[in-house]
């Protein structure tokens, strides 16, 4: 992101694809403020952020995969799997919390590794790889639990998703989920500034050129899938703690998170976009859901409004991108990545 020097720069920034999401976010927040200004009081806003944190963490993970030119459709199923695994293995025993957390991290990395290896070594398009992984995880978890998850989470496991630092002035409580989300975001931003981040970006932008320049494209892409698996694990821990055990928690999450990332101006197909904007896209989607609540919009009508807003926002960003004089027009704006 460039430094802003004046109103003109600010306008230009707001008009570029990355800036669009922040404008959208501001509009949604303003609307919520008009309807109910109590929403922005410390405690209730922190509660909103706590709820939004898992999707933002997922968005950061998905960002790495998308920017390197792939898709990860398996994250929703992975989140569901992690919650079920945690409940089954912990089974209410406090002492098992830490070992099970390690098992979950291992499992998340394993799923990412398999996704990455199949995509890069076997050259299966990631859409198909991760779609297959979605089916495998979805079936395997229900097969393992016989349809309904069993066991229970321990109190300390649920701390991350539910609790926080109490007694903070103005804010009331700073949830651990928000701290974790901020840490993940900061880590992701720093990672994108390292050599690895540049290689990842280059791999998505022009695989061939990156390869010829000596970048290990496949290794970078596998690492992106590993990061996505890790983020799904963290999101699973947060969602499990916040919402409790259910095998359905992750259903459809993959489409929501990809939408969030694209809303943040990240181009499907890779090579463009910032991780901060991707996470802001996730925040915008959660804010949209909150707005629907404030408006008391009938639940059945929400998908329609959501769909229309997503198309409009992405179309607006795409129009700016295609304008001459801005950054190089992206020919494959209508392309879908492998």
């Amino acid at each position: 992101m460039t430094r802003l020097r004046g109103p003109v720069d600010l306008l230009r920034w707001a008009a570029n694809p990355t800036g669009t999401v922040f404008v959208l976010l501001a509009v949604i927040f303003a609307w919520i403020f008009v309807l109910n200004d109590a929403f922005f009081a410390g405690p209730s806003f922190m509660a909103f952020l706590k709820q939004a944190a898992p999707l933002m963490v997922l968005a950061a993970g998905q960002y790495f995969v998308i920017v390197s030119g792939n898709f990860d459709l398996s994250v929703g199923a992975l989140v569901g799997a992690q919650v079920v695994i945690a409940a089954r293995l912990i089974d209410g025993e406090e002492s098992r919390t830490v070992p099970v957390l390690l098992v979950m991290v291992g499992f998340g990395l394993l799923v990412g590794l398999v996704n990455g290896l199949i995509t890069t070594v076997l050259k299966v398009q990631s859409f198909i790889t991760t779609l297959g992984m979605l089916l495998v995880l979805f079936g395997a978890i229900r097969l393992w639990t016989g349809g309904a998850p069993t066991g229970g989470l321990s109190e300390s496991f649920r701390t991350a998703g539910r609790m926080g630092i109490e007694g903070v002035p103005v804010l009331g409580q700073i949830p651990w989920a928000v701290i974790i989300m901020v840490a993940v975001g900061a880590g992701a931003i720093l990672l994108m500034r390292t050599g690895f981040g540049r290689i990842l970006m280059a791999s998505g932008d022009n695989e061939r050129a990156a390869g010829l320049a000596g970048a290990r494209v496949d290794a970078a892409r596998i690492a992106a899938f590993l990061l996505s698996g890790l983020s799904a694990t963290i999101a699973g821990i947060l969602i499990g703690g916040y919402a409790g055990v259910s095998a359905q928690v992750g259903d459809g999450l993959e489409f929501t998170v990809i939408t969030a990332v694209v809303l943040g101006g990240v181009v499907l197909g890779g090579g463009r976009g910032s991780v901060l904007a991707a996470m802001a896209g996730a925040l915008a989607i959660e804010a949209l859901f909150s707005l629907f609540n404030q408006m008391a919009l009938p639940a059945t009508l929400r998908p329609t409004v959501q769909g229309a807003i997503i198309i409009a926002a992405v179309a607006y960003a795409a129009r700016r991108r295609a304008r001459p004089g801005s950054t190089a027009p992206h020919v494959s704006a209508t392309a879908n990545p492998s």
Partner: protein, 346 residues
């Protein structure tokens, strides 16, 4: 040893010379043989046979619904686009059909016309959003799918409309062991093959999918081609909706929960069409649909746990695509993309 080595070498060389489509039909034959053997071994005491009439009927019945969706999906994927809204379009179409027919046989032609009109309009909207607003097709069609979902959830709390007996025949009648719906699907597939091979728009679809910019500079109106593909895809989904209505005897909004769109995409890719566009065809897609149908029937006959089915399905899809993905991609890398696309369309 050397004789075996030479024979193996000759076999692999011959396989390499085969076209992708031929390879997929070979894979289909392999799945049939393996499936037949698995069923025979598993149910030896009961005398189970994958090729018994009841199982063949089951297999062919399964092909028709995914088939309609996958044929349309092939067209958009060839153009390097995607349609994630087909499941919702099919559900809406089934409702339009059932409510328009309303139990009266004389309304059938009007209902079919209404379904094709509504689904065609949805396709036109998808195409316009992708072509003119430059929204990524993944997001655009996910968005229109959500819009339709909201409409369905709001307007229809349960099944609606009534399909007359006469039209229900489309769902159940069969000639010998071949269901009429499967015959219609094959006829549509034949029409699509002809369309892609012999019409100007069909050739243009390969060109647009190969490289939209080169196609545009060669004088192709890429926007129109893209919209045409989306309209045809949505109309295929409309036909799938008609089949749903005929089978259920009523219109059902719940149909979209089955994630038909992912099945259709899996079938298209199994059929050798490149998700990146420009390569593939409907003949392969039909084989891809058949492979999925054979698998489902085999799992059914062997009474495999439905959850294990998902696991096996996912693994088979990945494995099958992995088998021919490598050589397919190597070929594209070997020559410039637009040459490949033009070679196809000639």
């Amino acid at each position: 040893m050397t004789a075996i080595a030479t024979a193996w070498h000759r076999l692999t060389a011959r396989l390499a010379a085969l076209g992708t489509t031929a390879l997929i039909y070979l894979a289909l034959a392999g799945v049939l043989v393996l499936g037949g053997a698995a069923v025979a071994i598993d149910g030896a005491d009961k005398g189970a046979n994958l090729f018994a009439t009841a199982n063949l009927v089951d297999m062919l019945t399964r092909t028709s619904l995914t088939g309609f969706l996958a044929i349309g999906m092939t067209l958009v994927i060839l153009c390097r686009s995607l349609d994630l809204s087909v499941g919702y379009t099919a559900a809406l179409s089934s409702l339009v059909a059932a409510t328009t027919m309303d139990g009266r046989p004389e309304n059938i032609p009007v209902a079919i016309g209404a379904v094709l009109l509504v689904s065609g309009l949805i396709g036109a909207a998808n195409g316009a959003i992708v072509a003119f607003l430059r929204v990524n097709p993944f997001i655009a069609t996910l968005g229109t799918g959500l819009i339709i979902k909201g409409y369905l959830d709001t307007e229809y709390k349960g099944p609606a409309g009534d399909v007359p007996e006469l039209f229900q025949q489309f769902g159940y009648t069969r000639i010998g062991f071949i269901p009429v719906s499967a015959l219609v699907m094959l006829a549509l597939a034949g029409a699509a093959v002809w369309f892609l091979r012999s019409t100007r728009t069909g050739h243009h679809m390969y060109a647009v999918g190969g490289d939209a910019e080169v196609a545009r500079m060669s004088g192709i109106r890429t926007d129109r081609v893209l919209i045409a593909a989306h309209v045809l895809c949505a109309m295929c989904a409309g036909v799938a909706g008609l089949l749903l209505a005929a089978r259920f005897g009523t219109g059902s909004a719940e149909a979209y929960t089955n994630l038909y769109e992912l099945d259709a995409i899996a079938a298209v890719v199994l059929g050798g069409t490149l998700l990146l566009g420009g390569r593939g065809g409907v003949a392969g897609t039909v084989a891809g649909v058949a492979i999925l149908a054979v698998l489902d029937t085999v799992f059914n006959v062997m009474q495999i746990d439905p959850f294990a089915k998902d696991v096996l399905r996912g693994a088979v899809i990945i494995a099958a695509v992995a088998l021919y993905a490598r050589r397919q991609l190597d070929r594209t890398a070997a020559r410039p993309r637009f040459a490949a696309a033009e070679g196809k369309s000639r």
